[in-house]
């Protein structure tokens, strides 16, 4: 009974994402090289993103909405990348010098 009611999967997912966020702090408080810092960020970010997608956003379920899901993710990636690289383009690479 308790097993059915308690959303163990989601609680574990939530705890895991907290741990991953805390682990990323090593970049600020630790004393690693730049390359190691980037590696830490990349690995925690990828695990974090897949955790969100699989545990909370049910990307693995319901085959009939696969197309919509992937279009949505592609669009989100597009908007996110445009925002980040556009900002860098405006303020760093393309800044009047």
């Amino acid at each position: 009974m308790m097993k059915q009611l308690f959303p163990i999967r989601h609680v574990m997912g939530y705890l895991a994402s907290l741990v991953l966020s805390a682990a990323a702090l090593i970049v600020i408080y630790g004393d690693l090289s730049k390359g190691a810092n980037m590696a830490v960020l990349l690995v925690t970010a990828i695990i974090q993103a897949s955790l969100q997608l699989f545990v909370f956003m049910h990307i693995g379920e319901s085959a009939d909405t696969k197309k919509e899901l992937y279009i949505n993710i592609a669009y989100a990636l597009f908007v996110g990348l445009v925002t980040i690289y556009g900002t860098l383009y405006i303020f760093v690479w393309g800044w009047y010098a």
Binding site: E68, A76, G86, T87, I90, F91, G94, W95, Y96, A97
Partner: protein, 648 residues
């Protein structure tokens, strides 16, 4: 605690506003008690999850905000009507133009459009409600209390005064030490969460709840535009959420994201604001395009010309809308290469928009056109919006923009885009769908009178601003000298503003007059409509459709009428409906207090309210209410009554 910071000093106008707010509140409370309407209000409106009622509340709130923002506009036009006017002081003028912009975009245009989509989209796709009716109520109450929070700023503590775009460093604690911009960050945040939830809700509704047979490419154009709009909402609003949160941290907790010292970057605010702000323009304009498409097709008695190209041009606009934001700050200091890039993407948007304009013109061609009030607004929209579009392309040229930037030319341009593009559309949609919701039409004669007042006065108000801008008058200046020569054109513009006010008063009078005297529409199809919302009774029963329609073609209702094919073939079965709940309303009230306490940095009450929010969220998550069923007998009885023309 220091009571001094709650007070707003000086102006007799502000004391007048305080007194009128107090009197209106007392009047409403006394009226509700006297007519014993408290129970009715709670049962029928505050706790409702019905998409039609939520839509009506959105539209009512939007109309109220239209008048609040309209009064702001009148005050600005009066202050600038003649040189050296003493009607408002500089600070008060700053507050008025800031709240005018915020209210008109976020608390008038957005809720009006969301209100229309709430009422119409489930009907157009043959659904009984939206996918998440309770979340829909949460959306509304968060929007509503966010709007209220911004509105009380005028009399408690002072309004935001750094422009609707609240650029840093002006909006920082250092240069705007009053609570005004705290209100900005919190009121927008609360209503923004509501909008984000609406976005999710409507995407799911449109993708999952269409009547059987209604393929994506058979959807009515308004539903298409709403789908694309909500996709933009879901991807653009998180940027605003983050930017507002950073702003709140800067102003309340002393972080340094947008400051000029300690590694902060003031320009990043402008950047993030417009990453959201430009798609926001399309969030208010795309549904308007959808409304116009419905109206043009209906009153030309033709199906929409170039359906597929309409859909694809909206998709392209939605993608391009994320690629143009830097055109709002060409003069900020980025290099020529960056400006050229954003110039080109901006001009590219004119292409799909032009495709839509031509499609509407081709729909009109050889149509049997009837000039009803909604149609008049639509026809006026096409040339006026084109002027707005053409001046937009002028502004899009980065090198020329150094001349126009932040002048009245820009002000004229965006009013020429937003008023025909959004305001005319929602008024047209309001006239068009009014009989659907209330069962009678608005008076056509009064409607046309107010149309001519609004359209002519609009041009008288805003066309002179193009010339004022070219003469060198910058926006947001609260007065000017006589030698500048700005006087006569500003006076003309003020005369236009008075005409606009008359037009809007006529519009409201029309609602009052029609409610009292217009005959009931017995056909349920007063305009000879084409899409499914006209296939059910007006006003529609709570379950919308007794039987879910079966769709085979585009413009399903029109085809059913023409070919005498039945839309409703199934037998009536029991209908599953969501039950009402008061929790979204209570959540909204608590959010209002949370926002208010944070604005004034009252930490202990803010923490209490924050815990209250969490408790409400938990209570809503663990709520096990699976709704109720309407039995077949009850549906039959309701349908019989509706057939006889009785109201239920």
């Amino acid at each position: 605690m220091d009571l001094e910071k709650f007070k707003v000093h000086g102006e007799p106008l502000i004391y007048g506003a305080m007194i009128s707010i107090a009197l209106a509140t007392i009047g409403i409370l006394v009226g509700l008690t006297y007519f014993k309407k408290w129970g009715y209000l709670w049962r029928e409106w505050l706790t409702t999850v019905d998409h039609k009622k939520i839509g009506v509340m959105y539209i009512l709130a939007a109309l109220l905000m239209l008048f609040r923002g309209g009064v702001d506009a009148m005050m600005m036009r009066l202050q600038t009507a003649a040189p050296e006017m003493k009607f408002l002081d500089a600070q008060h003028y700053n507050e008025v133009f800031t709240t005018h912009g915020l209210i008109m975009i976020l608390f008038m245009a957005m809720p009006f459009i969301i209100g229309l989509m709430n009422v119409i989209v489930p009907l157009q796709i043959g659904a009984r409600d939206v996918a998440f009716p309770r979340l829909n109520a949460v959306s509304f109450w968060l929007f509503f209390f966010g709007a209220m929070l911004l509105n009380i700023s005028f009399v408690i503590g002072g309004s935001p005064d750094a422009g609707w775009s609240a650029y840093f460093p002006l909006a920082s604690l250092e240069f705007s030490p009053t609570v005004g911009n705290n209100y900005y960050s919190l009121a927008l945040q609360i209503s923004g969460i509501g909008t984000l939830i609406t976005g999710v809700n409507f995407i799911v509704t449109i993708l999952k709840m269409r009547a059987p047979g209604m393929k994506l490419m058979k959807m009515p154009m308004f539903t298409w535009s709403v789908l694309i709009t909500n996709v933009i909402i879901v991807f653009a609003f998180p940027v605003l959420t983050v930017a507002l949160a950073l702003m709140m941290f800067d102003r309340l907790f002393g972080s340094q994201f947008f400051t000029m010292a300690n590694g902060g970057m003031d320009m990043l605010w402008a950047n993030l604001f417009w990453v959201w702000g430009h798609p926001e323009v399309y969030i208010v304009i795309l549904p308007a395009f959808g409304i116009y498409s419905e109206i043009i097709a209906t009153f030309s008695k033709k199906n929409l010309y170039g359906y597929t190209s309409m859909v694809f041009s909206m998709l392209i606009i939605s993608l391009l809308s994320f690629l143009v934001w830097a055109h709002h700050f060409y003069t900020m200091g980025q290099g020529a290469m960056v400006n050229s890039f954003f110039s080109i993407t901006t001009m590219a948007i004119a292409v799909p928009t032009g495709v839509k304009i031509f499609n509407w013109l081709f729909t009109l061609r050889k149509g049997r056109i009837t000039f009803t009030t909604p149609m008049l607004y639509t026809l006026a929209f096409i040339p006026i919006f084109t002027i707005g579009g053409v001046t937009g392309v002028m502004l899009a040229m980065a090198s020329a923009d150094y001349q126009y930037h932040n002048t009245m030319f820009l002000v004229a341009h965006f009013h020429y885009v937003l008023i025909p593009g959004a305001v005319f559309a929602v008024i047209a949609g309001f006239h068009y769908w009014f009989p659907k919701v209330f069962g009678f039409r608005l008076n056509e004669r009064l409607g046309k009178h107010s149309f001519w007042w609004i359209v002519i006065s609009f041009n008288v108000t805003f066309f002179p601003l193009f010339f004022l801008g070219l003469m060198g008058m910058t926006r947001r200046m609260y007065t000017y000298s006589e030698e500048s020569g700005f006087g006569p054109l500003n006076m003309l513009s003020f005369a236009g503003a008075v005409g606009l006010a008359i037009g809007f008063v006529l519009l409201v009078y029309n609602i009052y007059w029609s409610t009292r005297y217009m005959p009931r529409d017995t056909t349920s199809d007063p305009w000879d409509g084409r899409t499914l919302e006209w296939a059910t009774h007006s006003p529609m029963p709570v379950y919308n459709f007794a039987v879910v329609p079966k769709v085979t073609t585009m413009d399903a209702f029109w085809n059913a009428k023409q070919n005498k094919t039945p839309l409703f073939e199934d037998k009536i079965t029991k209908i599953h409906m969501p039950s009402n709940t008061g929790k979204p309303f209570i959540l909204g009230v608590i959010f209002f207090f949370l926002g208010f306490f944070l604005v004034f940095s009252m930490w202990i009450p803010a923490i209490v309210a924050g815990v209250g929010v969490l408790i409400m969220l938990a209570a809503m998550s663990f709520d096990r209410d699976h709704g109720y069923y309407i039995s077949v007998d009850e549906v039959m009885a309701t349908e019989k009554k509706l057939m006889r023309g009785e109201t239920v």
